[in-house]
């Protein structure tokens, strides 16, 4: 059974129909890609899945349960982690605290525990910290734990976002343009990291990308979105050879 199902979802921004009759099913452990020209509605689809927007029509199901209408933090704690296209980090927090914060829903010590500094608080904080450091190591940014995020280079900031998303312990990870703004070196590294994360944590991944080589190499299946509608879906070869995709997307000057 698919872990995530999106059924006939349509979303309107006032008069603008950003997404129309969109469908998706992701099995556990799969890597799927979403491509499409600027303004096609890709990020909107992520926002619909994660509860930031509530779809005008249609349903989003997680493990069979309907989740549209739930608050984003509930959906996140049910197993959907995400990164953001335009890096939404907390500017006054260091790297380690970013990753610790994503354990929020599993904190049990409560206000009194926090205020009185109970042994339980110290134990839980230590556990969270250990987990956070393990994740930072996995993404090769363990040495940055104490750094302020605002001083980090772009590539490192993207990794912090990914570590933070992974700390929610998701079963499905949504990556919104994970390579945006990266140089070729960083590109190779991030691809390796995505593979490693996928292998070691056994996640499903759904990613939005503009760089064709990247998507083609990573994803098992790809959807192409144009003006809010899926015009083609299939394996990387099928997508590459689809005349509609070539005309609408590859031919439009986007790499």
């Amino acid at each position: 059974m698919p872990f995530l199902e999106v059924e006939h979802v349509t979303h309107q921004f006032g008069g603008l129909r950003a997404v129309h009759d969109y469908n998706l099913a992701i099995e556990p452990g799969h890597i799927r890609g979403l491509i499409g020209p600027n303004g096609a509605g890709k990020t909107t689809i992520f926002n619909l899945i994660t509860g930031i927007y509530n779809p005008t029509e249609g349903n989003v199901r997680l493990d069979g349960t309907r989740i549209n209408g739930l608050a984003p933090h509930r959906i996140a704690s049910m197993g959907i982690g995400r990164t953001f296209q335009n890096l939404l980090l907390w500017r006054h927090m260091n790297v380690l605290d970013h990753v610790k914060m994503a354990h929020f829903s599993r904190i049990r010590y409560g206000l009194l525990g926090a205020v009185l500094g109970t042994p339980r608080r110290h134990r839980e904080e230590r556990e969270i910290e250990d987990k956070a450091r393990t994740l930072l190591e996995m993404l090769d940014i363990g040495h940055l734990a104490g750094q302020a995020v605002t001083n980090l280079p772009y590539g490192a900031q993207r990794r912090v976002e990914m570590a933070r998303a992974l700390a929610t312990e998701p079963k499905l990870l949504l990556l919104d343009e994970p390579t945006a703004g990266m140089n070729p070196d960083e590109l190779v590294q991030i691809m390796e990291i995505i593979r490693r994360v996928h292998r070691e944590l056994n996640l499903a991944i759904f990613l939005i990308e503009h760089r064709m080589r990247f998507v083609m190499e990573l994803c098992e299946r790809i959807q192409t979105l144009v003006f809010g509608e899926v015009i083609a879906e299939g394996t990387p070869e099928e997508i590459q050879n689809d005349p509609k995709v070539i005309e609408a997307y590859l031919g439009s000057g986007n790499e």
Binding site: I52, H73, R82, L88, L89, M101, I107, A114
Partner: protein
Amino acid sequence: MDVRRTMRGFSQVPLLGWLVAAFISVVIEIQWGTPLAQALGLPKIPVLFGVVLALKQPHLLPGAVVYLLLVYGLPIALIARLGAGIANQAAGALLRLPLWVSAAVHLGLFYAALELWSGLSDYRDLVLRFTLIAVMVTLSLNVINGYMGEFSCSHPGFMAVGAYAASVLSVDLFTKHRVFGEALLPPALGPFLFPLVLIIAGLVAAVSALVVAIPSFRTRGDYLAIISLAFMFIIKSLIENLEIVGGARGLGGQPDWAGLSTVFLWTVACVWAINNFVRSTLGKALNAVRDNETAATAMTVDTRYTKIVGFLFAAFWAGVAGGLFAHVLRYVNPGTFGIQKLAEVLAMVYFGGLNSVYGSIVGAVGISLLGEALRPLEIFKWIIIPLLLILVMIYRPTGLVAFKEFDPKAVLRPKNGPERERDALPRG
């Protein structure tokens, strides 16, 4: 070059050294303060570091400055510098014991110095107690306006609720009163139950804060500023019209339970509790919500719960501070908790620094002293303080000591050799 070396010497003085030095200079003042003041042509010792003289009797200022140098400046500098070695050893030995032992020793020493210092003048004692209360109010408002990044104006209202709740309890239960009748409990029990009275006052304030929190944090948008301002005015006029607590005339007769030691202990408790909270992941969620709410929700942070909890927690401490305030003054009236109080507290928060325990202490102490210095100006004080606030917001928008984490262990640590290098390493 020499100056640099001297300064480096001072940077190696641990907190313990400064406290011992301060204590000794207070003893010096007790011994020789009065004759020295007379010799310098001062009518009496400068009670508040001379700040009160600045506007009232400026011609006495030079004498006051010399006095301060001789009684405080020089002895503190000498003792701190010469005793740094021993102080570092002592501080190091203390840190090998559980942290609370070291904290208790430092606080005990600090309290002893304050107790002796304030014993020399009733005015000092009163200003000191009000300043400590101001630290509590400022830090608790910082939780909302700094750590959470909202803008709340309701703190005087929470203080009022706490002040009246505590006063009604203590007057009704432990004293004979015109309206409330005979004492319901033996007055001798009072001082022991006073902590409970204050906690109840804090809880009542926290419950009243729900009235602001629930509508303000329902949706996004800047409703909090306006709703909290309305709350402050409503509380004030509510009390003005509540005859049973004296209406606009106020309520007096609170027992004398809020001496320096009580106020000091509560201030320490408040700073400790709030600092614990804001350094936990639960408390840092306030920062996440402030810096980016979308990212916070996507990382499982329940933003509404976080804001409401932070808000009520802050209101609780404002309520406790209000209860103490009423028992220091032993009289309250609703006029105290109006727009002037608000301006003062906001000035303390923004002047001292957002998101910082140090900042709140600096702000509360600084503005309290300034307030005493400007007292002769009467109503014009209320032009100068807001003006200062505006200047700070223009030139240093986050305040003097903003975004600095208060780590008790680092504060109590010896300041020599390898320990200093450990300071520079990232936390972990």
